[in-house]
């Protein structure tokens, strides 16, 4: 079957379970796709073809015996190289870990494997997930399948590229300031950043193996895929307490019916006081028009009007990020990291200011930051409640996938030069701070054919609502489309 590699996880799971295809056939199809295209893209950086085929054969044999391992029985997946994979090299893109082979799977990996998934290999990322491009000294650079001269995004850049190029059926990424969402947007795929503490972080690098975990907020684990169904299945498999990450409470996922377009009540915000590419803006204008025509209620808003101050959000984000990421570093190391970050931003940048203030922070300062954060979350939730929004739609970044460049280079957004980090995370980081669930879904394309995605934002624990709204919106935008030639 020539198109096996185009199919999604749920689809393949069904077809393997019914015997329509074998797991081995499916694995071979993805391996062939990787062999054909990965050289150019460099998304998959560790490949275990042999191991995958053995596992696939076992999957087929098990099925023949009437055994079913789980909802992903025999389905091939790849995983961001930030996640520990037992017996398979896990580097985090970080040279000192180039030969690190964990003994144990990260929780999310174990759960996908436990559901029957076949792990093909690991996908590329920047050093310790610290950039929205995916380059590192071990494996080099990943390119965007839509245009090799452009980045796939980061830090889950290899993940998104692998899904777009159809190297596997499902991916596992992580998102701090935008690391699932930016790549999903740049590569035209779906990516879910779940509610904070929905999915255990156990086995994710960073934290470096054996180090004290000080990153207690904002970081999340989530799936990337070619369909909402796949995202939903993956989330159900990886969510929930694991007896290791004590911050994860047992909150059910639930499921919501897809609303009729006419029943939708949506807020759209494109106004973040940050430049936005004309094509992106046009995409939202178009969608708003389509929704209104279908009878939906669409409200164009500015977050600041609802008590969610963006400058305060950026500054608080900077404070918490620096405080938590820096708690494991010496003050000198912290200052160096902040300088590097700051060097590429304007002086009055609130995020940089927050970071600088948080160097060698006291617990008191940090707790005050967390409380400011909670006030902002409360404001956002209040807005949802009072206005009755089912979801908030926003851009993911200022423009489509940027060309490869040195980290920190100002980014051209139409005629405007925008600071590197602003162009990358100004739209995503406020929702990171809020800890709310965000699905990135394909919205449209730029005039030069690059994907443009949108953030579908809900209140905390509202993944079911977010996915339901996204299904309704997909009827207008269409779903995943493969890059030309893949």
């Amino acid at each position: 079957m020539p198109d096996l590699h185009t199919r999604g996880a749920v689809q393949l799971a069904t077809q393997i379970a019914t015997g329509e295809v074998s797991s081995v056939e499916v694995v071979e199809a993805f391996l062939a796709q990787i062999a054909k295209h990965n050289q150019r893209i460099n998304a998959v950086v560790t490949l275990d073809a042999e191991g995958a085929l053995v596992r696939a054969a076992q999957a087929d044999a098990a099925l023949a015996r009437g055994e079913r391992w789980g909802p992903l029985h025999g389905v091939p997946i790849t995983v961001k190289d930030a996640f520990a994979t037992a017996g398979m090299r896990t580097t985090g893109g970080y040279a000192p870990l180039r030969d690190y082979v964990p003994a144990e799977d990260a929780t999310a990996v174990a759960r996908l494997k436990g559901a029957g998934a076949v792990l093909l290999g690991k996908t590329n990322l920047p050093v310790l997930s610290g950039d929205y491009q995916s380059v590192n000294p071990i494996f080099g650079r990943t390119n965007n399948p839509w245009n090799l001269g452009h980045v796939p995004g980061g830090s889950s850049g290899g993940s998104a590229a692998a899904i777009a190029a159809q190297f596997s059926a499902l991916e596992l990424g992580s998102d701090y300031s935008g690391s699932i969402r930016v790549p999903a947007h740049y590569c035209g795929v779906y990516g879910l950043r779940p509610t904070e503490h929905r999915v255990p972080m156990t086995g994710h690098i960073p934290v470096l193996p054996g180090a004290v975990n000080s990153v207690r907020h904002i970081n999340t684990v989530g799936p990337l895929a070619r369909s909402i169904d796949d995202i939903e299945l993956a989330l159900a498999l990886i969510a929930g307490p694991d007896g290791r990450d004590w911050q994860v409470p047992p909150v059910p996922l639930g499921r919501e019916a897809t609303p009729e377009p006419g029943a939708l009540k949506i807020a759209i915000s494109v106004d973040f006081d940050v430049p936005l590419s004309i094509d992106t803006h046009a995409g939202f204008t178009w969608l708003a028009g389509e929704l209104e025509q279908a009878g939906a209620s669409v409200e164009l808003i500015r977050l600041g009007d609802f008590g969610f101050s963006l400058p305060e959000a950026y500054e608080t984000f900077g404070e918490i990020a620096q405080a938590e990421l820096g708690a494991g570093l010496s003050p000198e190391e912290e200052r160096a990291a902040v300088s590097a970050f700051r060097a590429n931003r304007t002086d009055d940048d609130p995020m940089a200011r927050g970071m600088a203030n948080a160097i060698d922070a006291s617990a008191r300062f940090y707790i005050a930051s967390l409380l400011r954060r909670e006030a902002l979350v409360a404001a956002l939730h209040q807005a949802f409640e009072q206005r009755g929004w089912q979801a908030l739609l926003t851009p993911v970044t200022a423009c489509p996938a940027i060309p490869h460049c040195d980290t920190g280079t100002p980014i051209a957004v139409d005629d405007c030069d925008v600071p590197y980090w602003t162009a990358g995370i100004a739209y995503s980081s406020p929702f990171s701070l809020a800890g709310v669930p965000v699905l990135v879904a394909p919205l449209t394309r730029s005039h030069d054919g690059l994907p443009i995605g949108m953030q579908v934002v809900g209140p905390r624990w509202g993944e079911a609502r977010v996915l339901a709204v996204a299904r309704a919106l997909e009827q207008f935008t269409g779903g995943f489309a493969a890059p030309p030639g893949y």
Binding site: S214, V251, P252, D360, A361, E385, R460
Partner: protein, 441 residues
């Protein structure tokens, strides 16, 4: 009827310090009328209860036993109070607490001292002392207290009632003082509201009413309490340790726990002596970690402003705070290992039964030994507070002076419903709540 009991018995106990008789009667009449019309206001329809004077009650004096607040009338109900009212409960009034909840006895400059209904010369415990005394003496059907280092558990034990300290993060602290309303709500760990009642079933009912998210506390997750069917004794495997956290309790306490263990075994449970220290749980490390976390959070909440006598410690560094939270993670993992094998763990609440009133901080005799105040009050409760695990306190016997002895029944985090089912089994075996003898005025 309760108002009559309050009138008769409260003067000697001084448990209820603010009474809203008029409001309660009004609400009761409304509840009766609704019921007559076939309507129900909720799972606590018409149930009269009290609330610790730490929870803001709109329009009803809330002091936290802190003199500057002696006439304070909050504008808004605390989150738990809103939920109780929404469930149809009738708020009778507020129960006594020590100054800013800062003691395991209940005495303060505004309302004075609360006495234990079992022996007026003894403390009912604290900080939810008024609540436990009110419930034990039948002045209220239930109370909502709060527990940091033992403030629901110790009074429940001293007064012979049931108390629940839910899993940390289930119940919102919005509107709980301290911190005062003008101060940052910086207490992010350890503290939780919890019910006091005369049966395990009531604990469960109240938990389901008060648990759940509130908009001002986004860290409270919508984790359902769930239900758990009754457990049959042979299904239940229990661990117990009369000596816990390195401290042996009084002989009477030890005997009560051993008797409980053998009664449970006779009922068909599998009961093993097991100290979680064997699984790597280090109670001293727990005390150390909670001290760092408390210091940091109370400092952030502005405690030095409230208590000028507090020693001015250096501001806790984030590194130290982060390290303490990481240590907490390790300790939770170690403690919870036993729940692979056991449904629950039973240990004492304090080394002795209720002690005679005395100035805060003075030593307390335990058989032939003299324990420090801290040892005698916090030894068994504080290490568990750190972990955020759910704990039921249940009365299981009496000492030779006729004072109740309770135990902590501990379960894994988020396992509240299952723990309550285990506690219900213990209740069955022990015969449940017994009221103190009524004293003539």
């Amino acid at each position: 009827m309760l108002l009559a009991r309050i009138a008769t018995h409260n003067p000697a106990l001084n448990a209820v310090v603010t009474l809203d008789a008029e409001g309660a009667r009004r609400a009761a009449r409304a509840a009766d009328a609704a019921r007559a019309n076939g309507a129900s206001t909720g799972p606590l329809h018409g149930v009269p209860l009290t609330v610790k004077d730490a929870f803001c009650t709109a329009g009803l004096r809330t002091t936290c036993a802190y003199p500057p607040l002696r006439d304070y009338l909050p504008l808004h109900d605390a989150a738990v109070v809103s939920r109780l009212k929404a469930a149809g409960a009738i708020l009778l009034g507020k129960t006594n607490v020590p100054w800013l909840l800062d003691d395991a006895q209940t005495d303060n400059p505004i309302f004075g001292r609360t006495n234990n209904p079992w022996d007026l010369q003894r403390t009912p415990g604290g900080s939810s002392g008024g609540g436990a005394a009110a419930v034990a003496a039948g002045l209220s059907l239930a109370d909502i207290g709060s527990d940091y280092g033992g403030s629901v558990r110790i009074p429940a034990h001293f007064c012979g009632v049931y108390g629940l300290r839910p899993t940390e993060g289930r119940v919102s602290l919005t509107g709980h003082l301290p911190p005062l309303e003008r101060q940052p709500p910086a207490i992010r760990h350890i503290s939780t509201p919890g019910p006091l009642a005369r049966s395990v079933a009531d604990l469960g009912l109240l938990l389901r009413v008060i648990a759940g998210p509130d908009r001002r506390a986004p860290s409270i997750a919508p984790a359902p309490v769930g239900t758990h069917g009754p457990m049959a004794a042979p299904q239940v495997r229990l661990a117990y340790a009369p000596t816990f956290a390195g401290l042996a309790p009084s002989a009477a306490t030890c005997a009560a726990i051993e008797r409980l263990a053998s009664d449970l075994a006779a009922a068909g449970c599998q009961v093993d002596a097991h100290d979680p220290a064997h699984d790597g749980f280090d109670a001293a490390a727990a005390r150390e970690a909670i001290s760092v976390i408390s210091q940091a959070e109370w400092d952030a909440a502005g405690w030095p402003e409230l208590d000028p006598t507090a020693s001015v410690a250096e501001s806790t560094s984030l590194r130290a705070y982060a390290a303490a939270l990481a240590e907490r993670d390790r300790l939770i993992t170690a403690f919870q290992r036993m729940f692979d094998r056991y449904a629950a763990f039973i240990c004492p609440v304090t080394p002795t039964s209720a002690f005679a009133h005395r100035p805060k901080g003075t030593p307390i005799p335990c058989d032939g030994r003299l324990l420090t105040y801290r040892q005698a009050t916090a030894s068994y409760t504080i290490p568990l507070s750190l972990l955020g695990v759910p704990v039921v306190t249940a009365p299981v016997g009496w000492d030779d002076d006729g004072l109740p002895i309770g135990v902590q029944i501990v379960g894994p985090r988020w396992g509240d419903a299952h723990l309550l089912a285990v506690a219900a089994l213990v209740e069955q075996v022990t015969g449940g709540f017994r009221p103190p003898p009524d004293r003539e005025r």
